[in-house]
Structures are given as C-alpha cells and as structure tokens.
C-alpha cells in the first residue's frame, strides 16, 4: 500500500497490541474504534504475523478505512457511522 499524505500527521490515538492476534486482536480493535469519533485515526502496532492479512480483511468487512499498512504499523480511520 502506498504511503498516504495523511500519515504525516499524528494519529488521534495509538494502540500497541504487541503479540495479540486473531480473534483477541480483532475484538479489542473493534472496542477501540467504537470508542473513537467518526473520522478519527488510530495508529495500531500489531506484531502477530497474521495481522498482515487480517487487518486489511477486517477493515474491508467493517467499513473502517485502512490508510496505511507497513507491518507492524497500521493506520485506520474510523468509519463515519
């Protein structure tokens, strides 16, 4: 994924998920995005190898926008509704 100009500004929140993966990572991620305002951005750090494929898939399914992906760093914009 190519760098996005919006990546130059600070994310609204940051979460280091460490080695969390699969279901635990995704449920925690859901809770964190739900606690943010529409349009806000979360910088996620996730070291689990499965995150490379999972985070883009999760964003496609949930409607949140994956702004940038450079494992283990992901930047996600919360959906509007």
């Amino acid at each position: 994924m190519s760098p996005d100009p919006s990546d130059r500004r600070d994310a609204d929140r940051e979460w280091d998920a460490g080695e969390l993966g699969c279901g635990k990572l995704l449920v925690e991620l859901r809770f964190r995005l739900e606690g943010m305002a529409p349009g806000q951005e979360l910088k996620l750090i996730a070291f689990d190898a499965g995150a490379r494929a999972d985070i883009p898939a999760w964003c496609r399914m949930t409607g949140h926008t994956l702004m940038t992906q450079q494992h283990p760093v992901y930047r996600i914009r919360r959906k509007e509704s």
Binding site: G21, C22, G23, L25, L26, D48, A49, G50, A51, R52, A53, D54, I55, A57, W58, R60, M61
Partner: protein, 120 residues
C-alpha cells in the same frame, strides 16, 4: 452455484488419512475451477512447513506432498491459523507454496462472501 470452496483441515500426522483426504478434495475443487481455500488450523498447521509432509503416503492415495504441490500449482490458496502456528513454534520463513499465515478475519471474509466449507 458458489464459485468458491473451502476445506478446513485440523489434522497432520496425527491423522494422515484425514490430512490426505482433505487435500484430495481441495484438489478436486481447484481442478473443477473453484476458487479454493485450504484453512489449516490446530495440528493441521504443520502441513504448511516445507518438508513436513514428505513421508506421508496413505495407501491408495497420491502422496501428500504431491497433493499439496499440485494444489498450489493449480492456483489454490492455503491459509494458516496464526495462533495455532505460533503455539507450535513453527517457522514462518519455511512455508510451502501458496501458504500465508492469517488470523480469523481472512477466513471470515472468505466464507462470508459465500462459500461452502467441508471440514476434516
């Protein structure tokens, strides 16, 4: 008719019969033109390691290594359950062709878009 097919495989050398038949069916699906996914979880993740299946030869079946290679050559995809893989301390740099380590979201996405799934 769905154009996708998923085989969920939870066994390796703990049940070589199921491991073999799972890939036989996966080959049948990919050979029938289906976008085919093999989801390896639990003990099945060991099959994603190069060389692991080399000595699995069930009577009456094609050797498992050949089944896995043919599946990949035909365009099949192999998803490997990340926590299952990590638990067994396997090597993510020694994966068979077409295998990728994923978490649950990739499987959920594949099945949610419409796919039958058979489990072994």
């Amino acid at each position: 008719m769905a154009n996708r097919f998923c085989v969920s495989l939870t066994h390796a050398k703990d049940n070589p019969d199921k491991a073999t038949v799972g890939f036989v069916i996966a080959n049948a699906a990919v050979g029938s033109g289906k976008e085919t996914l093999v989801f390896l979880s639990v003990e099945g993740v060991r099959l994603a390691q190069k060389g692991y299946a080399d000595d699995v030869r069930e009577e009456g079946f094609t050797p498992l290594r050949e089944l896995i290679e043919n599946f990949a050559k035909a365009g099949g995809t192999i998803f490997v359950c990340s926590p299952c893989f990590k638990k067994r301390k396997l090597d993510e740099h020694n994966l068979v062709a077409s295998a990728a380590i994923v978490g649950g979201a990739k499987l959920v996405e594949f099945l949610s878009e419409g796919s039958p799934c058979v489990s072994y």
